[in-house]
Symmetry: C2
Subunit: 364 residues, 2 copies
């Protein structure tokens, strides 16, 4: 029966056809209004817009994607990385998203650069632009170069998303990552519980070419010191710089430090390389040292299971990757409004709850 009551119809989804009928125009006109195309008289436009608002019309995105049959090419610019690294999880999340939204005809091209060679970032950026992508995802690890690159994207009208760390003034379409300062603050609370009153804490830092690796690291440190200033002003703290690239050198630095500071039984790294210290402890059979770090890298996980890393703060890299692709789809295809700043949860992981944090499962 065509003669359904209004009661029943209320539940039904409103279609373009319905809007057209109510506005006394054809679906073509409604379509033009919806996509703000030209060729509609002011009177019709206003009438249609009125009805749209009144009925709170939501297009059927599946029908829309089916009909428009466009292809979207996304591109991603990441630091190059090896197996078991942080960025691998980010990529995993992105490829999960690509396959989950494959019916939208999206594709993803990932380009890599050497985080410590600025030239390689620029070069990768140029290659990316050549492919003329519809949306870009990148991590603003190098502020200066990112700034330049983002200017080009803006000029071309290509939306870009930041993951992992943020530079708000370069206003990306969205940011997915952790609130670094607050995560440092939280880490401090936990480490403070681990630290005995009498002893002290050592901060292991990562130095490249004479400067700290990233803003992330700096903000985490800030948060850490903020907490300690408020809650444990008397606690002694040391900073020890490590260099990752020359393992022998780091080992010697650690030897020297612990020889001259035997009472220190607590430490933290504000980057993902806690395993450098954890593996050192393992090698020297020191199980009494309490260590914290960041990110569920394979080597960190192994240290946690072996007992030389107590806790790690995870920042859901897989979810970051997944969400950033989803965000581009929402923006470009479904024209949804995007939330610009999206902080990931600050997760505390120990050997006990680690099994529930490989967030892969969430998005099969």
């Amino acid at each position: 029966m065509d003669a359904k009551t209004d009661m029943e119809k209320q539940q039904e989804r409103i279609r373009i056809k319905d809007i057209a009928r109510l506005a006394g125009v054809s679906v073509g006109t409604v379509d033009r209004v919806l996509h703000s195309r030209s060729g509609v008289s002011p009177a019709s436009r206003q009438k249609v817009e009125e009805i749209l608002k009144q009925l709170n019309y939501q297009p059927n995105m599946y029908a829309s994607a089916l009909a428009s049959n466009k292809k979207y090419a996304f591109a991603c610019l990441l630091p190059d990385h090896s197996e078991g690294d942080y960025w691998e999880d980010v990529e995993k999340g992105m490829s999960q998203a690509v396959s989950s939204f494959s019916d939208f005809h999206i594709s993803l091209d990932t380009l890599y650069y050497d985080q410590y060679e600025f030239g390689s970032f620029v070069e990768a950026g140029n290659r990316l632009l050549e492919s003329n992508p519809d949306g870009v995802i990148l991590s603003p690890t190098i502020e200066e170069e990112t700034s330049h690159f983002v200017c080009l994207l803006q000029r071309l009208g290509i939306p870009y998303i930041f993951i992992d760390s943020n530079i708000p003034k370069l206003n990306p379409l969205a940011f997915y990552g952790q609130h670094a300062q607050k995560s440092g603050y939280f880490a401090a609370r936990i480490l403070h519980m681990l630290a005995r009153e009498s002893s002290g804490i050592v901060l292991f830092r990562q130095i490249y070419e004479g400067r700290l690796g990233s803003n992330q690291q700096l903000h985490r440190e800030e948060g850490f010191y903020d907490y300690m200033r408020e809650h444990a002003p008397g606690l002694k703290m040391w900073e020890l710089n490590l260099y990752a690239k020359q393992p022998g050198q780091d080992e010697k630095l650690l030897d020297d430090f612990f020889r001259s500071h035997p009472q220190v039984n607590c430490g933290i790294t504000f980057n993902s390389k806690a395993y450098l210290v954890g593996e050192y402890m393992l090698k020297h059979h020191r199980k009494d040292f309490h260590l914290m770090g960041y990110d569920l890298l394979r080597r960190n996980v192994e240290c946690m299971k072996a007992g030389t890393i107590d806790f790690v703060i995870a920042q859901q890299p897989t979810m970051q990757g997944y969400n950033s692709i989803e965000c581009l789809c929402n923006h470009l295809i479904l024209k949804k409004k995007i939330k610009p700043c999206n902080y990931m949860p600050i997760n505390l992981i120990s050997a006990d709850n680690i099994d529930f944090y490989f967030d892969a499962h969430t998005y099969e």
Copy 2:
């Protein structure tokens, strides 16, 4: 041009039409094979199945949902609850999912029962069955009655999902919730850090009609004791039963306990009612007591901000709700394979990282 190279076509999505052409049959026949309907000769069926497997055909679920135009009614059976409660977040997740999958024409009907009146569960269950739903979500809080109810569902061929707690032998289509034993174990690790060596720990328990509220609570306790047995066998522990329904009575019990055990400065609840103790501490201006609990109820959050609850373990109720609806869609509409056991992360929340855990944002 119709004459695309195979190279190009490889990237394209395979359609039913393609399968039909390659198998030398019509799309109707392929359709029949895909939906395992009758009326296909063994020869054709085999040929089509072969091609399907060979090309790993994945149907376009959007087109499929669009064409089939079926309506799905889901039903949900939950303990009744007041504002700011745990179940409210579960419901929030479910309604977010319903609106995010609204193009699949799903609807959700939620029924409530009194958790402590078994008869009301049965009555709500019967009302639910009358509406003849396509899928059911419930929390098996009462084992006996749930078992009966689930039998009925099985007989009717209606799939059901458990959230929050699990009874594997009633084999639900899927379970979304926390690994209770391991979460208790993890909680113990944290509380052990909070507890000074010299003092002891009190376990506040929730008693209804002479027995513990739920299996969840029991398993958490188990995990907690497991940890303590392994890592702090000497630590003294007490159990104090509370009754929630008579606040005056609880206050007296707490008074008595702390008068006779002034050295105890640490406690935990294995249900969501930590605020009973937190608010007591607030009232008596005791800030030196370390308290842990479960779930981000409004009253718990307030205690955390006031400083009388140190940590809470959260179990992502919103995500549980969202995922359970998503699961029914995947199973009934998209015919995807379902993962039967889905453990939520074991999240540790303090006042510092709480802002990042109202998981609403994730699914706008």
